[in-house]
Structure formats: C-alpha cells, structure tokens
Symmetry: D2
Subunit: 242 residues, 4 copies
C-alpha cells in the first residue's frame, strides 16, 4: 500500500461518510422555503464558537504526550495549534456582525452565550481524549476532514446568504476556507510523512469517522434547537428573538 | 511601577539568586586541579537530557489551559515550545561526541541512560505543575533565567574545555547560547506585554526563584554523583568508566 | 422545588429517554426468531469490558478536582469508585464461561480482545470529560441511570438466556443488579444531599441524558457488528466463530 | 531479599534520612529559650493546610492511572484517599483554636491564608507527579514516612506545648498520630503485598527519600519565615501579630 494511494482512499471514505450524513428529514425542512431564518445561523455560530475554542488546545496536547515523539510531528502539532489559536473569536465576530451580540468584542465573555449543547460537549470530549490517549497520530484524522470540510459546506454558505446573512458576517466560514486550503495540504503531507504502519492509518481513519459523525450530530442538534426556538418550546435562545 | 523597570529588577533578583547559589564546598573541589574529569560532563549531560526532554512539553501545556487566555500569549507559548522541541537530542549528540554513548543517535532510547536523579525529577515535577496550575504567566519566570543562564555558565564551559571536552561535544551549551540570546529578548518582551498586575510579576518572580533553586540542586547532585563515582561508592554511572 | 420531588422527576425523564431509545429496526431483528445468537452476547460483553474498565477511574477523578469540594462528596466518590473497581473482570469471566475466551483469567490481557468500538470510545471520552471539567456533581447523572439500568434490562437477560447463555456466564448482569440496587439508593441520597442549585440539577440531568444516549449508541453498534459478523462483511470478531 | 526484611531496611533508611535532616543552625535557634513563639506554630499549620489539601487528591490519582492495576492496590489507594479526605480542615481548626483565625470554620476560604510557600509548592508538585507518572507503587514511599512521622515529631509537639499551644489546638498532630498508627501498618502490608520487583522497592525508596527531603525544606522555610516575621523583614504573616 503506497501512502499517496491511501490519502486518496481516505478521501473516498470521507466522501462516503459525508454522503451518509445528510439527514433526510432535517435537510428537507431546511430546504423548504421560509422554514428557517437567520437564527439558525446564530445557533450554528454559537456551537462553532464552543468547539473551536478547544481546537488549538487539544491540538497542542498531542505534542505534550509523555512518550517519545518524532520531533517533526511535535512541531507540526504546535504550528497547527498556533494557527488555530483564537479562531473561535471569528465566530463571535460573526455573531456580532449578524446582529446577535450587542457587546464590544473585547468585552465578550463565554457567559454571554448559552453553554454548549450536549452533542457539542461530546465532540469536545472526544477530541480531548483522542489527543491525549492512544495513537498520537490519530488526531490527524480530525484535521483531515475539518480542514477540507469547507468544500462540502458551500451549499450551507449559500443557504445562509439566502437567509440574509451578509458576507461580512461569515468570516469564520469564508476566511477559514482560504486558510484551510493550505492546511488541508499540510495535513495530507503530515499523514504521508508520519503514518508508517497499517495501525496508524486505521487509527487516523477511525478518528476521522468518529469526529465527523459527532460533528454531524452537532449540526442535527443545531437544527433541532432552531425548531424548538421557532415553535417556542425552549427558551434557551430567546435572546436571538430581537 | 513601569514594566521596563521591572525587567531590570527581575534581573537584579536573578543576579542575587545566582550569587547565593554557588555552593562553596562543591565549587572549591571542582576548582581543585585534577579533582574532576570528563565524567562530570557526562553526568551533567544526562540530567540535562532528562529535564530538557520535558521543556517543550510543559511549555506547550500552558497554551492548553482550560481558561480563556490572551491569544497572543497562547501563540507565544506554542512558538516557544516549537523552538524547544527536540533540544534534548543535542545532549545525546554531545554524550556521543564526548565518547560516552556508542549507539547511533537514531537508535538511542531513554533506557540507554540512567533514570533522572531525584533532584531532576523534582525540577521536572515543578515545571509541569507551574505550567498547568495557578497563574498561566508564571512559567515566564523559568524562561527568564533559563534563556539567559548561558551568560552565567561561561566558566562552566571553560572548565569542561580544560577537562578535555571538544567544542564539537558542547553543542547543547554553545548552540544554545546563540539561540537563547534571541529567546531572552522575546521573554522580556512577553513579560512586558502580558504581565499586567502586581500578582503577575510576583508569580513570575516566584517561578524564577523556585525553578532556579531546583536547578541548582540538580547541579549539586550532579557533582555529588561524580564524587560517588570517583570514590567507587555507587555503580550508577559505571558505564562512564570506559 | 423539593429535592425528593426532583429525584422522582429525574426518574420520569429517564423513563422517557429509555422509551425513545428503543431502535425499532434493530429491536425487530433481535426479536425475529433465529436471527441472533450467542455471539451477540460476546460482543456485548467485550464493549461492556471496555467502558467498565474506566468507571472506577473516572469516578475517582471527580474526587481529585483541584477546587474545594464537600468532604462528604469526595468520600462518596471514592467509596463508589472503590466498589466499581475491577468490575470489568466480571465481563471477562462471563466471556470465558460462555466459551469465548480460552485463557485463564489471570493471564488475560486487554490485547486478547478487539479494541473498543468507536461508540464505546465516545462514551468513555465523555465520562472522563464530565468527571474532570464543569460541575463536579454532574457525573451523578451517569450513576443515576447506570445503577438502575438493570431494571430496564431484564428483557435483555431473558433474551440472552433464550440464546443459550447459562446463568453462570451472566455474573456481570445478575450480580450487578443486586449490588446496584443498593447503589441506586445511595446515588439518590447523594443527589439529594449535594445538589443545591437549579444548575446542579440541570447539570446532573444533562449528564444523565448524554451518557444514556451514548450508551444506546454502543448497544446499536454491538448489534450492527453482530450483523456484519453474521453476514461475513467484517472479520473483527472472527475469533467468536469457534 | 525477603519482603519483611526490606520493610525493616526501609525503616533504617528512614532513620538515617531523619538523622541527616536536622538542620543544626535552625534547631539551635529553635531551642534557644525565648527565641520562638506561637506564631511559628501558626506558620507551620498554614503550610500543613496547603499540602494536606492535596494528599487525598494525589493519593486517589494513583487509582486513576490508565494502565492495568491490581484491583486490590486500586482499592487500597481509594480507601486511603478516603481516609485522608478533609484532613486539611484539622489544620484550619487548630489555627482557629490557637487564636489565629477569627472566622467560623464553615466560612473559611483558601484565600483567608497566605498562599503556599515555594517549598510547599515543590512538595505538592512532586506528589502529583509521582502519583501520575512512573511506577504506580512509588507513592507508597511517601505514605511510608508520612504515616509514621509522628513518632519523630514528639519533640515538636512538646516544643509547641512549651510555647503555650493548648492540646485542643493540636488536633492535626495528636489525632493524626492515633489515626496514623493503623495507617502505618496498612502501608507496610501494602508494600509487602504489592512490591514485587527490585525496581518496585527502589522506586518506593526513592519516593520516600525525595518527599521527605522536600518536607524538610518546608520545615526550614517555615522557620525562616518565622525569623523574617520576628525581625519585621516580611509582612507576609502580619495578620499573626494580633
């Protein structure tokens, strides 16, 4: 098995997983004209803020493993963590631009937002665990899809645009896609450079599948919370009803 | 209190601590002609290997704290960790160059060396704790002296030269002084930029004092182990008696 | 809101969650005569082994939180952890009794079993996170259902019996129900004693819901893996085909 | 080497270490009539509070190690942690009884006391590290001396009595000696039961020596802080000058 072939294989598995994720029922409602509105975007940004807050942290944790690590892999993890640092603030910026946060950014506190949804907590929990236990290479599987997810999310951005979200309130999504194009290549190179055994590839693949499925649950919850808000069954996001 | 004044003050406290550290009895023996030999350098390198192994790791841990951190400070910690990554291998290189390790570097395993001395374990333990609890800025106090210690160690290098250690077997000490000249300036800038309160400065100072004293104990132990080896009371370093 | 009322409420929420969990498709197949066999029990035991291995550990972690804790709650956590210690070995015992493990118990190693399934990893990850971050009382929500789940699982035991599993190979399930009857009462008392604020009750409830749903995913995966084994699409459990 | 012989040997090493610890200069001053007063006891209690706060926590951490552990050793650690839980409150009680704390015990907050001294931080750091890395049995070396230290401290209690400390303000020291007589036997039994290899005994011995030396430094600092307070060179403990 050559490594380059395997990156292509991972990509196929990713396509396959992505195909399976689309939740028919939710998707249909999302596409029904007039069903969703900008508040869906706000809920999406809030959860994005929450898990993104931890991305640099759990990425850096990989480099702090007690065991001997390839120095180049340690540096890769630290550099990548450095680049992810503070990205959660883009979600806060977008929330403000979209009119859902009245405060100045520098006065923003975590407590200004509802806590993470259960599904977001689970995603965060998994990323910490995969970063601190088991194969130190496994977390590359998360980066593998997270850095290239934006290609899959073009329809999402289009939908938010239709809901009236301005381009200037989509910095997390747009700027991120540019940044992440380079990142995706770096991740591919890193996988090719550091994954040496069958087990390495398997652990990376497992992390890819698991984190992606957990992210899909987050997206489902975001939609479900929107529906509850719309129907008035939950007051969790009442502050979004300006 | 202006920040720049305080860096100067920290420097004075450091000079003062350094002055107190010199252990009269040990120093006298070290300076007695013919008392010490190259094996002292080997023991020094072994302990240097052990604590340096953890420096990038505990530095990176600061950036993984759960609490909200200034993104610029997180990046500083990650960048600094990246620069310290793999430096323990310079100590291994020097051990080999000085004739105390027969293996190829790429085949080197931790288990080829005796475990850390108790005093080294204590230094390592403290650096992990200060990096993971209390004021996230405190660890800057360790960097403050560690990055500029080489100015104080010129006499040490001279002594090792007299013992017959070649320049090519002193990469950790020599290359490090060059690298660390820049680092020392960065640390000063970081302290000036991030330390805002009286408490911040105090915590940085405490970490500086504590880690420096623990490092001095390591140096004492290194010397004591050399004496035991010379007198034949301990077989811990017998492999150094080629 | 009186506390005793709330335990009753938690119980209602639990009943409700349990009702929602039953996966129609899977259940139907499980109940189809001749569809499942003892190998389903083996896969169930393997995953039970994996997450149970961590239960005493993550329970004890709650008592190691850096913040000040009620000494009685710390003791409760430690006592409960003590009682859960080693329970994973009952699953190993049952595997052996049911004829799926040839080794002597004392020679058993983790590596004798396939690694945890992804869904089991996620459950484990969540339990570690809830035990080490956020509200220290939250993990009581896991105990709340875990200690009384056996009342819901009577049909499961009956099914395994029909598949030919001997009573002596069901120590985890049977002995556990006896032990856990007492535990369930202790958990109720602990919740009533330590949960003081609305937020405490909410965090306990959230942990209950989340861990229960993650456990349900584990059960789904167990069934799916059985189906793959039966159809021969996966060789992960080939060693069960004696 | 028989195990029972080795407990006796450990005891001899402990006696030897204890003999070396007595710091001539400090001891002489302590014994000079009129040199010390009750404030020395207060400073001693404050540091005792600080490290004791962590004892149950770091003891419990041993049982949370990811690796497979003997279930009986896990239970030993958890039981012992349970017994140590809340003991720091005895130091708070004694501080109050001796007249150095005006608050009700239930209103006591960590922030009512000065932070730990540097040497206390180092002891705490070491105990966390030894509990979470390396040989899981090593921490028994700390318990080995900590549970029997009271026999060595009789002169200390006598001195505090001479300084006018009432028996009712010495619960930590007196009650602890009674409790710990049993503990010391349990520790001996545990070492005999779980330490199997030469390395186990060596790691236990190293932890005993290291933690004892670090505790001795704490005692030195306590005395040095008293001298600074007496001379008026430090205002850290001004609240003790009623």
């Amino acid at each position: 098995m050559t490594a380059s072939k395997t990156i292509a294989e991972l990509k196929l598995i990713l396509d396959d997983e992505m195909g399976n994720l689309a939740n028919g029922d939710n998707l249909e409602k999302v596409l029904t004209p007039g069903f969703v509105d900008k508040r869906l975007y706000a809920i999406y940004l809030i959860e994005t803020y929450h898990y993104t807050y931890h991305n640099a942290r759990n990425q850096a944790l990989v480099a702090t493993r007690p065991e001997k690590l390839d120095a180049r892999y340690m540096k890769y993890c630290l550099k990548h963590a450095m680049e992810e640092t503070g990205h959660e603030l883009m979600a806060v910026h977008d929330l403000k631009k979209a009119g859902f946060l009245q405060k100045e950014l520098k006065e923003f506190r975590d407590t200004d937002l509802p806590k993470p949804l259960m599904t977001t907590e689970v995603l965060i929990a998994y990323l910490y665990r995969v970063s601190t236990t088991g194969n130190p290479l496994a977390r590359l599987g998360y980066s593998f899809w997270a850095e290239r997810v934006y290609e899959y999310l073009a329809p999402l951005m289009e939908m938010f645009t239709h809901l009236g979200v301005e381009k200037s309130a989509m910095t997390f999504l747009t700027d991120h896609s540019t940044i992440d194009a380079d990142h995706a290549e770096e991740v591919d190179r890193a996988i090719n450079m550091f994954a040496k055994t069958e087990q390495d590839w398997e652990d990376i693949e497992n992390c890819m599948r698991t984190s992606l499925r957990l992210k899909a649950r987050v997206m489902d919850s975001v939609f479900e919370e929107f529906v509850k808000l719309k129907k008035g069954i939950s007051n969790r996001y009442d502050f979004l009803n300006k």
